[in-house]
Structure formats: C-alpha cells, structure tokens
Symmetry: D2
Subunit: 341 residues, 4 copies
C-alpha cells in the first residue's frame, strides 16, 4: 500500500549504500577516529564556513538531544522548550532521566518567540525565590518544528540575541534540518543558521541515512571531554565509520540538500492537491510534512487505501492527520495519492 | 600496514551489506516494528530453541550493558562483576551513570567463580549492617572475557546455580559470544549457554555487523515496558531495520557461527606461530584474541611493521600486547604476520 | 516587627523541647532503631487506626517528596501533579533530579479533580504511541494545597477511586496536614484521609517541630528495602531519635491537633478582619494561610509595619500577599495586625 | 547496660539544648537565612582564620558527602577514595546514586598516601584510552579514618600538593574531625588542616549535636548556586536555625574542642586498660575509637555485660570489636568497663 506515514520508512539513499560497499574493507580506527569520519567533519565545517566548529556523530535524535542537553547544562539547570515539542511528549522522559527539568513554555503553534523567552527569563530572575527554582540554562527549538514550521531569519536572530544577553546557549534540533533550509519559504542559508545558534544537529536518519545525526558546536563551546560523556551515555559506536561514511556522502555533491529539496517539492504538490480538493490545513507547512483536519469517517475510509499518521484529535468528529514525503518519494506516488483523496 | 589491532576495523561482512542493499526500498514500520526485525528475532529464538525468549536489538556494547543492568536492577541494587572487566575500567562509568554501583570481585584471570560469588553473597547477608549497603542484584560476566577466556559448562552451571539460590539474574555479556561458542576449547552449545543464564547479548559489532547487539531475555524476564526504557535511554533507532536486517543475515545459513569459527582458527594459527617462536603467552586463549608478554624494545620494533593493541604494562621492561583476528582476517595475513615476528 | 511571613519562623513547641531535654541522656540505638521512634510510629498507627501501616521519619518536605516518589515509581514512570504545586516550581527540580518527569495538569485553583486525572489516564492509554511516553505512575496532591485549600471527602474518594482503577498510588503531601484536618471546613477525619490514599506524610516542620516529616504507607505498600533507599538518598539521621521524640510528643495528648486548630482559628480571625476592611481574597482559604489581592502601593506601606509573604503578581498594579499563622501565633498579634491594616 | 557502642547514642550536649530553648521563640528567616546561622558561619571562619571561606550546614554525613562530591565533580568525573572507607561500603551507594564512580585505591590501614594518589593519576593520564575512563576529579579522605587514624601534617601537605598539581580538590570528611584535631598524636592545628584541603566538613552529629555537619569551602571554590543544589538534593531545612544554633554553641567558648578532647582522653584510658590486660590492638588509634582483636567466645561473654560494636571478622576464631567514647562518656563508665574485661 502507498505510504506517506513518515520520512524514515525506507533504508538509505542508494549512493550512501554504495559508499558503504566501496569502503567496506578499509581497515580503520574505531570509535570515530577513522578517516571517513574526519573527512565528513571537515565537509560539514566547510559547508557552514566555520573552521573552528566542532562536529560529532551520534545515532539518533533522542540520544542526541539527551547528550547535548546533559553535557551543556549544569546539574541545577533546565531547558526552556516549547510545550508541544516531541521532547516533552514522545521521548519517554529522556531529558528528565538525566536529571534536568524541561521548562515548557506554552505556544500556539509550537514555535518559541524571543519575547516569550525574554519574559520567562526576566520573571525568573525577578523572583525572590529563584534560588529554589530550576535555573534556565538553555533554549531548545526544533527547526523545522514537529509541525513542519520554520523560523525566519529575524525570529532566529532575536531568539539568539536573548540567549546571548542571558549567556545561555541556543540549541537547534535539526532532525529535519534540510527540509527547513530547502523550503521555499526559508529566508536563511545554512551558514546563517549555524551562526544564529550555539549548537545544532543535522538529522541524517530522516534525510536518507540509515542512522546518524551530526552535532555541531559552533562557538568554541564543545563540552570538555565530550567523547567521555558520549561513551558514558553508551553512545560511542565502535565502528564510528558507519555514520562518518554516511555523512561524508550526504555532504558530497550537495546530496543532503538535493534530497531535502526533492521532499519539500513533493510535499508542496501534496499540499496544493489537498487544498484544491477542499481539505482544511491544520497549519501552513512549507516543509516535508502536511497536516490536515479531516473527519474521522473520512479518515477511516482513506486508511483503507493509503498509509499516513494520525496526529491528534481535533474535536469530537475530526482528527489531524499527517502526510510525509522524503528523499524516496517518487512524484508518481504523490499523484496517486491525490487521486485517492 | 598489516593490522591485527582489533576485531572491528572493517565494515560488515559482504552478505550483510548485500542484504541491506536488497531490502533498501521496502517501506517498513519504524522503531523495531519492521518485518526484518521480527524475522531476526524469530531466528534467534529458534537457534537457542526457546520460543518464549524475548529479543531486542541495541546498537553497541556499552549501551547494552547500561540498559540491561539499569532495567533489571532495583535502584538500591548493584551488580557483581569481575574487577578486570572493561565495564569497570573502559566504559567511562556508564553503569554508575545510571546510579548503580559495580560490586567488583578480585579475580586472577578476569573470570568469576561460583565459590567467590557465593562467598560474597553469604558475607553480605551475614553483615548486620547490610541494609546500609548496596544490595547485590545481578551477576555479570563476559563470555569470552576481555582476555579471550571462556567458561566451561560446569563453571556456568555452578554460577547460574548460585544466582538461582539468591534469586538474582546471571547476565552474560556476549560482545564476542561467537568466538567463545566456536572455540575448540568450548564444551557448551549455544542452546546450553542460553539456558545457563537469565539474560545475555549476542555481539554483532565484533562479529561482522556494522553495529548492533541482540539482547535475549531467556526466562520470561523481559523488564516491563522495556521499549520505553530503551527510548528513555536514547537507544531506540527510528530505522530499527538497520540492525534487524543484519542479525537476520547473521543468523541465516549459519553465517554468525562460520565467521566466528574462521576468526578462532586464524587466532589459533597466530598462537601456535608465536609460541613456536618463543613468545611468552600472558594466558592461554582459545578464542580470537592472543596476548603475549613482550619486551618493550621488541614491541617498538614490531610496531613499525604491524598494528596490534598495547594492553597493559607487565613489568618495567615488558608489556602485554594483543593480536586480534576476525571474520575479515585472511590466512595470508596471518602467515605474513608470523614472518614478521 | 510583627511577622506573619510563614509557619516556620519559630523553633519548636515548648513541650517538644522539654521532651528532648528529658530524654537527652538515654543511650539509644542509632538510625531510627531507638525506642522513642518505635513509640512514635505506634502512636501514629493508633491515631489512624491502621496497625499494618508503616511509618518512617524524614527531615523535610522536599526530601520526603523526593524519596517517596523515587521509591514508589518505576524508572519509566512520572507523577501526575497539579501545575501550581510547589513541587513544580520551588523545589529546584528535586523530582527530575531523580529521573522522573512531573506530568503537570493545568488547574484553576491548584486542586486536581478525579475527572481531570481520569481524562489524562484515558488519553494516555488511548495514544498509539504511549510506549514512547512517560507512564503515569502516581497521583500527587497537597492537602491542604499551597493556597490553603482542602479536598472534601467526596473529592478524595473519587481521586482515590481513579487511582485504584489504574492501579497507581495516591500520594498526599501533608506538609500542613493538621491545618487541613482541623479546618472548620473539613468534612474528613484523619483516619478517613489515611484510608483514602496509599501514602501520605504528616508535616512536623510547619506544625511545631524543629524538623521532621512522618511518611505513612497505608496499604502494605512500603517499598522493599526502604531504609536502604533512605540511606542512599543521604536522608537517614544517625540520631533518628531527634525526629522520633518530636513526633512522639506531637502525637501525645493531642498536641499536633491542638496546635493545628489554634493556627486555623487565628487564621480565621485574620480572614474575617481583612474581609471586613474590604480586602479582596485571592481564594477562600479555611486553613492557616490567607491570600489577598492588594495594590502594590498599599503593600509597600504595609511592609513597613508587618512581615508577610509576597506571593505572585496579580496584574500591573496588584499582587497577591500571604499571611500565615501557626502554633506560635498569639491572638494579640492577630489583633495588632488587624489594627495595622 | 554500659554502652561504648558508638559516639551518637545520646542526644546533644546540654549547653546546646539550653541554647535551643533560649532562642526558641525568636522569629527568624527560614532556609538558613537566620541570624544564628550567620553567627555560626562567622565563628567557624574565625576559628580557621579564613574570612573568605564559605560555610554551609547540612544534616548528616552521607548527605554531606553526597552533595559536596556531586556539586564539585563534573559528570564524567569520579572520586579517588581509600577502599576501606565507609563511603565505599556502608553508604548504600549514595555517591553512585548521583552518577559518580568511586575510584577506590587499595590501602593497608585505610589511609591514602600521596605516592599512591600520584601513581594513580600518572597511570591514568598515561593510558592511551583514558578518554574512555572515569576522570579522577577529587581526592576524598576521612580525618580521622573509620579506624581512628589521623594524618600527619606532612602527609596532608603531600596529599594536597598532588591534588594541586593535578588541579583537583582534596576533600576531608571530618565526621569525627574534633577527635582527630584534639588527639595527643596530632601535629596539626585546625587552621592548618583547613589550609591543607579545598573543602572539609566539621561533624556535629558525632561531637555533641543532635544533627548537623558544617561544610567549609576554603579557597573561593563554593560551587555556583550551591543553595539550589542543596535544595535539589532535598537537604535544605526550612528551620535552618536548628543546625545554626547548635554550631554557634559548639564554636562558642571552645565547646567543640573540649568535648572532643574529653572523648579522646577517655579513649586513651580505654586503650591503656585493654593493653594492660593483654588485649591485642587491631591498630594504634589515638582518637575516640579503639579496636581490638578478640576471640569470639570472649566477645560473646563480654557482650553480656557491655555494649560495643562488632567490626569485622579477623580470622576463624577472632573478630575485631570497637569501643567508642564521646562527649557524654563519664570516666566512671570507663573504669567500670575496665573492670569488666
């Protein structure tokens, strides 16, 4: 059956697999000290034009959030985060497991504004009893958000400004980073995004890799003995080459960006098609995920013909459903989908 | 340069890569719910002849030790372990990170005996103040050990017996399980080993996979909501298929055992060759790692021609060095090595 | 200066100090094994008419919440709690420090209703992805709440009923328990309250003791090796008698209840006096704390003459302030206060 | 029955109780902000002649070790400690609970030497794989040790020197500090001891207080937001005055030192008496605890007449038993004891 259920249903882009095959018998050092990993790190630093950045490869998104946040926060600090983020809901308490509180701010659409963050920080430091409270030690956002929305250059600039004033890092979860950067609605380059935060990660898993996320510390702020911290969290692969090779290929010949762009384009066709047929959008996404408010009876019928994700209950008779595209989505599948709805 | 540095210097066995290529475009469910993972689990249960076992796939050894131990222990419990084990030294405190103490017993050769474990448990419960001490909640051993030694059927049976008496699980770290089982010195079958413990894992990383370890709970003792625990530890891969496919191939057509056997045979040639040339063995290993006590000046010279691991300082003028073989070691390399020494 | 700032400004009720003096030179066992602690435990079990309850003494409220919650929850569980509770704000992340998420439900007045809890639990188990979420493992409420409100017998009965249906414990934080039980608005006895939850604690610190809280497990549910857990959390006093003696005296001759009743009565005089002078109550408290919405300029003037707590900003020109009474508040102080406002 | 079981069998020295009674009705700020606590801190800084020291009061020894170690270590660090220390055995894993490994060094008598510590640190940094190991982040010793031994000025100076070279703090557990400082064998003043470490604590519980330990950071090294960390660990008493008042009295008119000296003198009479009667000492203690190797049959007989602590099994027919004195031990009790043996 046709599936638009998520952006990780297939394996890896064929060029990535090919690279794994080609390099397979090279004897390399373990634990991320191999030559492919070194090349992949260099590629990423070049593409963001920041030679002093530091790059590390981890396996998945929850793991990356957990390790980056735990490594950058002091034990008495928590992380400011939008309340609708997956970290708050679908990561099984992975952040709290490390002892840190999520300081969740209510949002309308899952995006944090600089004004909201500033107000939280001001109120915190104005409170006579703030020494008995969890100190806000970081701001965390997703780009794009779980709902496919992106931040504008102005929005990111303002957020980063507040963080700089309060001397706390801005961390961008880029599980779907490429889909945001290549979105037709984006007004920001990769280099600019990297300058407008203190740490971010580039999602491999959801953009054509078998696994792997690349953490980038942008401002001489790699936590001391970060390798030890990664090992302590059980996240240091013996064959670090597995992820190094994949990112090396993703950042060769623009592959990462082309895959992202393709998915965004497919998603825009989905969006246009649904809107033309009168479907009601939940919000206006310009990235690889589209959310629609659909009657439950219609959802049930649709589910016979195509796979998608049920996102949330909207009201007694409607739910929000999600259609994802990815590097592997051929346009003919999109056209078939549009015929089905 | 010729390398016998470790058993994870290459990528994956070609049949595994081939399987990843073949299955690549299948659309599958995420987070370990894919059909390949299901098949791989079934294969493993068949090979140990235990239909009620439960199997889960994780990414690496430290991660697996951390999650299994944290999930099986009560918060006030620690794990009995031989003092020379890598968990005690080279895992960056990954177990203590989860709040559990390692209850390290001194050993001569890194192997725990049933008598030592029994004495520890008796002494513990005899202590009037044991309520102020960390409760021993598990026994952990490696098979083979970091020094390539294996336990006999009798030894494992006795260890398991003590554990049963005290109602604590016996956990076997099988990062190099195959090399033990296929050793010419082994008197135990895989099925028997699986019966003589409560939980073990089958190492993929060191036996031909790109990554991945298979945890097997043998006695209806999978921790409740284990998936949630895996997720909470940041260890649930979105593309769970990556590991499922690899284990499916490893346990098809006996591949896992053949690869292990090959490495053991190559290692025995190394051993014989070194002994014939008068090298002094550190201990008598029948698995894929050989340890020799060598003069430092000789080590320095040797290091110009071949890669190996420096293991530990033996005395003021000698060190212990290690030569590892693996699935990817051709016999001609072993013969070249023997010419060099 | 006259102070109504909180209910812990003085030392201990004189009868408690007297008891400490009288018993001082008795040689007793340490770590809570002394005869006074045993007697105090027996007294508490008698007063709640539950011989099979188990009682433990700890030092303060945050510590008690932390240990009880950590001991009763599984590692993958969190605790349902009203969003306005101090545990969420002013306990410095003490619960998250133990790895558990607070599952905060929005409330109007800081009280949780059975309907809200049931809805949360139903929604949780209806979610297809709940295995990736923090499991709700306990319901936590304060009696009275931080705002002095109490639950009726009906409300507690319904809350406990939901907990029983979902087989999770109901934990009542009784830092100010006596003030609730002795409130003129209370329709519940101590025995009934103890029956309507699975664990609660009796606050000593805020009811006339120097320190100390008594945890009571009501339904054969003391966590295994709880003493070990207390020790592991650094909370086992060598001279456990210090708290045992205080609770022994508090529960002799009705002292605990008389002290609580006195404070409630003083508080009602405060309330009546403020209302008569036209002060606007923030909510209707019948326990030992009164909250009023007052103009900031008036607050500033008042602060010259009497000490009270600034609670929260109400709007641009008003704040909520709190006046607390306790066992040590003489009626003449209350009358003086009323003259000042 | 006559008891020499431990040094915390009685309540508090009468002058301490008297002070609690006298100050009882003063209305004071909570959470350690009271005037008595401020005075007590000033007294301690005066007695060690270090105006820039910072002092905090906690409740018990395990708690103090746990909080100081957790606050001073980075998450990837552990603490070097002698293997026989109680922290390793009888503190229920309280340090590991906070995620830190104990790096235990074998010792003959429970004392660490500078040479042993230096060797450990050198070996650690020489290890090519030390990035995969727990970093040594602190040295912890007890003064006196659990066996009543003290360090000489030379020994402490050398230990501190190694710590300074490696830039890690030296932490002295002073649960029985006074008994060491006032020992006839001590060659060090309190001021000198405070200069020869980076943090230490003064035990109140075992020297005449009801509870309480005073942590002293000696070199501008109070951890940032330490109050928040104390609160987060559940260790901030609402009525901080309870401990402040006790230390204020202990450090008024030399009380702390007089109590310690008295106990040491009583202990020396015990020691002399036992030696004269031919008892075999386990080691040579000049502080308030004496350890003897005694035949088990004799121990059994003795236990009918006097209370003491059974310490450890020495061989098949002998055990080590301990006799403690304290501030409350009258000389006539010691004389009675000597008659009994």
């Amino acid at each position: 059956m046709l599936s638009f259920e998520n952006d990780y249903s297939e394996g890896a882009h064929p060029r990535i697999l090919q690279k794994l095959v080609e390099t397979n018998m090279h004897q390399e050092a373990g634990y991320g000290e191999d030559s492919f990993t070194a090349q992949a790190k260099a590629k990423i630093k070049t593409v963001i034009d920041n030679p002093s950045a530091s790059v590390h490869f981890l396996q998945g998104g929850t793991q990356t959030n957990q390790i980056v946040i735990d490594a950058l926060l002091e034990p008495y600090e928590g992380v400011i985060t939008p309340d609708k983020g997956h970290m708050n809901v679908h990561e099984a308490g992975a952040i709290e497991y490390t002892g840190h509180k999520l300081l969740s701010l209510p949002t309308v659409d899952g995006k944090l504004t600089a004004a909201e963050v500033r107000k939280y920080l001001e109120t915190f430091y104005d409170d006579d009893h703030h020494e008995f409270m969890v100190f806000p030690g970081m701001v965390y956002i997703s780009y794009p958000t779980e709902y496919g929305l992106i931040y504008s250059k102005k929005e990111l600039t303002e957020l980063h400004q507040v963080c700089k004033e309060y001397q706390i890092p801005l961390f961008i979860d880029g599980a779907r980073l490429g889909y945001g950067l290549m979105s037709s609605a984006s007004d920001i380059t990769f280099k600019e995004l990297a300058q407008l935060c203190d740490v971010f990660y580039i999602g491999g898993t959801k953009t054509g890799a078998l696994c792997g996320e690349a953490v980038v510390f942008t401002s001489d702020n790699e936590p001391k003995h970060f390798i030890t911290t990664i090992k302590q969290h059980g996240a240091l692969l013996a064959k670090g080459r597995l992820i190094g090779i994949q990112f090396l290929e993703l950042f060769s010949n623009n592959l990462y960006f082309e895959l992202s762009k393709h998915a965004d384009e497919m998603s825009q066709i989905v969006k246009k098609g649904f809107l033309e047929k009168g479907y009601r959008p939940y919000l206006n996404s310009d990235t690889n995920q589209q959310f629609f408010i659909v009657e439950d009876t219609k959802i049930k019928a649709l589910a016979q013909k195509v796979r998608f994700a049920r996102w949330l209950r909207y009201d007694d008779t409607h739910s929000v459903i999600r259609f994802s595209t990815c590097w592997a989505t051929p346009e003919k599948n999109v056209q078939e989908l549009l015929k089905l709805i």
